[in-house]
């Protein structure tokens, strides 16, 4: 039993911390949000050079044979800096799916340039009716010669607008909500019949709705087995949940530091407001939420490569608990700042917005409590 980082992991964390502190201050981030991509391609190249895009992938895929703990470390620091580059979309989800389900040829074609920072990915899965049920897929893939024609709609696909390749799920057989019959396809976003309506999200990211209208793909576009994608989707979404939990932990820890400093420096009635017991107890609750979230985030990272059921239970529990923590800490960080917390020019409201979205992404508290209950019995 050991929750400590190895020497290499500490070095990784330190290099991330240096990058965030040096290159990702609040003003620089604000400029990124206003730019056309909504993030910095320079930063992305830097991530590649520092090895962060490949650290979690096996060596035979061009990676550095890290573990989910490395992803956790990266995401925690990204959470502290509210990093908006498409790491989750490209590396965790896109790269993760190719690693889990892809053929050797697909891995070398996609993972190598992705790890080098030359290829971005996005995973279109959620549909308007589907909510958080990963089997609720209505998008169709009809056989067309050797290949398929895809039709349907994928919503709120983070970073869809900048992706060089899309991975979309579609139904090759079965009924809506059957877990069998779902297939993953690699799709060129510039192909005929693909349209993307991109937009800003409340947490400062970019996302898009993807409409597929009879999009023609070849047989080689299939990622994994025909009709058998559901386990890969569940596995990669649990990786995303682990990454988001870590991001939330970093964001909560930073929001708590900022709020704690504010309680010590803001004076009203002649004293620092941190002297008021009601605010002390609130701050203590925020701290306790962050600590418990961190414990479960570590647990999930260590169970992520374990047996499916154990992984799924850990992911459900972690997302449910972290979701509650994220909402509480984000909202109370704003509350304890008073009006300052509400201003776009000040940091803490941005933490609240990201933490609010993390609660929803890949299933809110309610969804994961249900999932936990279904798995645990």
């Amino acid at each position: 039993m050991d929750f400590e980082y190895s020497e290499e992991q500490t070095l990784l964390k330190d290099s991330l911390r240096r990058f965030i502190d040096g290159r990702y201050d609040f003003e620089s981030r604000r400029k990124l949000l206003a730019s056309s991509d909504g993030f910095s391609r320079d930063n992305w190249r830097q991530f590649a050079e520092l090895g962060w895009l490949g650290v979690a992938f096996p060596e035979d895929s061009g990676g550095f044979a890290g573990s989910p703990v490395e992803t956790m470390i990266i995401m925690e620091e990204f959470g502290r800096g509210l990093v908006v580059e498409p790491y989750l979309a490209t590396v965790v989800l896109g790269g993760g799916l190719v690693e889990i389900a892809g053929s050797a040829a697909q891995k070398s074609e996609i993972l190598e340039p992705m790890i080098a920072g030359e290829l971005m990915l996005a995973f279109g899965h959620s549909e308007p009716q589907g909510r958080f049920n990963l089997a609720d897929v209505r998008t169709t893939a009809e056989k067309d010669g050797d290949g398929y024609r895809l039709s349907g709609k994928k919503i709120v696909v983070y970073h869809a607008g900048v992706a060089d390749r899309l991975i979309v799920s579609a139904r090759t057989s079965g009924d809506v909500r059957d877990s069998d019959g779902i297939t993953l396809f690699l799709v060129d976003p510039r192909a005929d019949g693909v349209s993307i309506r991109d937009y800003r999200t409340v947490d400062g990211f970019r996302a898009g709705d993807i409409t597929l209208e009879g999009v023609k793909v070849g047989a080689d576009a299939v990622l994994g087995t025909v009709g058998g994608a559901h386990p890969a989707i569940e596995a990669v979404v649990d990786r995303a949940i682990s990454a988001l939990a870590a991001e939330a932990v970093g964001a909560m820890e930073r929001a708590n530091e900022i709020t704690n400093d504010y309680l010590k420096s803001r004076k009203q009635f002649g004293v620092a407001i941190g002297k008021f017991q009601v605010l002390q107890h609130r701050m203590v609750d925020m701290y306790m939420h962050a600590e418990q979230a961190k414990s479960l985030s570590c647990m999930l990272a260590m169970k992520l490569d374990g047996p499916d059921r154990e992984r799924a239970l850990a992911a459900a529990a972690t997302k449910a608990r972290v979701g509650q923590a994220a909402r509480f800490v984000g909202e109370q960080a704003v509350q304890l700042h008073g009006g300052m917390g509400m201003t776009e020019e000040y940091t803490v409201g941005h933490y609240m917005k990201r933490l609010t979205m993390i609660e929803t992404l890949f299933g809110n508290v309610d969804h994961h409590l249900r999932r936990y209950a279904a798995l645990a019995d």
């Binding site: 959620s126 049920n133 937009y199 709705d209 929803t360």
Partner: protein, 399 residues
């Protein structure tokens, strides 16, 4: 005890409802129902409509142009307005400065300001909070120096709603700092066009602009703009706050929000069924509905107490606390109902260039996120909920 309103009161309610139905443009109602802002022009037009009917100031005495309704009528009027998604008339004129002027001002001030407050010709804003004086308002430092025929004002106000739209600001300023902090404060009316005033917008995290910073640099304010006596500003401010705290329960708009959530949850699916049929979701919504009912009947009980000759003191803090907490629970459920479509966020100002693009997601998501995010301010403004609890602890419980 009797829960029913009199038949006269019920007839009054019907009359108000019919008037709103006939006179409030549907487009404005739709914006209010979605929690989107309503512009100055539309608000002023609606205020004019109410003014012509004689309904713009339910609580004001008749001789100043008010309706002078008894408390129950005022309550019913507000309920109907809330149910019908009528926009709130900005409170700074009619609810705040107006009563201070007719209670403590001189005849010249009444004649000059009150008619324009009622008609909406003048827009007012409130100069209270300062960067160093939020919850501890009495520590305010904006100074008004006596220069014989005028005051010279220097200092800064913050969180000033509508300062960018207002013609006038009523300000708490320090005219004396020799005694207790509360004793040296005066209540000053300042023309926003006076040289030396600068308004700087504060953009909030919903990307909206309603609050501002207001800077005063050697601003000359004629002595005739002082309300009442110098050094009595704190008393007037407390009087004003007691006005601000009636009608803060917002029960009708919360009921509208419940209906909106039900309608959205009826359209959204979970595992192929409407979300509203989901037991866990429905139970959470039911819990908030019950909270809301407890708030509604607490407000009515307090109202009945006042009607019977009692006074409403710190109990109003209870209404403010519960109303804002319920409001935030409801937008939380709104967010939950939207599922994945909670994430997209295009503020209207940013969306101008993209009007021709298809809308994002279902139409009912418009405004929901803005409302959720901006709604975090509700437990902060008008005296934070922590301060409201302190008030109850001290004034009601004697702790």
């Amino acid at each position: 005890m009797d829960l029913a309103f009199s038949s006269e009161d019920r007839a009054f309610r019907e009359e108000v409802l019919a008037f709103v139905e006939a006179n409030l443009p549907g487009e404005i109602r739709d914006r209010v129902a979605r929690g989107l802002g309503v512009g100055k022009e539309a608000l002023t037009a609606w205020q004019r409509t109410l003014h012509e009917k004689g309904w713009v100031a339910p609580a004001w005495p008749r001789n100043y142009g008010g309706a002078e309704w008894p408390l129950v009528r005022r309550y019913l009027f507000q309920q109907v307005m809330g149910e019908a998604a009528a926009p709130d008339i900005p409170p700074f004129g009619v609810n705040m400065v107006g009563p201070v002027i007719y209670t403590f001002g001189n005849e010249a001030q009444k004649a000059r300001f009150l008619p324009r407050v009622l008609s909406g010709e003048d827009w007012w804003c409130q100069g209270y909070s300062e960067p160093g004086s939020g919850s501890d308002l009495a520590s305010l430092r904006t100074r008004a120096e006596d220069q014989g025929d005028h005051y010279l004002v220097n200092g800064q106000k913050i969180w000033t709603t509508y300062a960018h739209l207002a013609d006038w600001i009523f300000c708490l300023v320090r005219t004396d700092d020799s005694g207790r902090p509360q004793e040296g404060i005066s209540f000053l009316l300042i023309d926003m066009k006076t040289p030396g005033i600068t308004v700087r917008p504060i953009i909030t995290i919903d990307h909206g602009h309603s609050v501002n910073e207001v800077f005063f640099e050697d601003v000359r304010v004629p002595k005739e703009n002082l309300v009442g006596e110098p050094g009595k500003g704190w008393t007037y401010a407390k009087f004003l706050l007691s006005n601000e705290r009636t009608g803060i329960a917002h029960v009708a708009s919360a009921k509208r929000q419940v209906a909106r959530i039900k309608s959205i949850a009826g359209a959204e699916e979970i595992d192929g069924r409407p979300l509203i049929e989901d037991r866990a979701f429905r139970a959470r919504l039911a819990a908030v509905e019950v909270d809301l009912m407890a708030l509604e009947f607490t407000e009515l009980r307090l109202l009945s107490k006042v009607q019977g000759g009692g006074t409403l003191g710190a109990e109003s803090s209870l209404l403010k606390i519960r109303a804002t907490e319920i409001q935030q629970s409801l937008t939380g459920l709104l967010l939950e109902a939207l599922g994945n479509y909670a994430a997209p966020f295009e503020a209207e100002s940013e969306d101008d260039a993209r009007r021709n693009e298809p809308p994002i997601g279902p139409d009912y998501r418009d405004g929901a996120l803005q409302q959720h995010i901006y709604g975090r301010a509700a437990t902060i403004y008008g005296g934070s909920n922590e301060i409201q609890r302190n008030i109850i602890a001290k004034m009601v419980l004697g702790l």
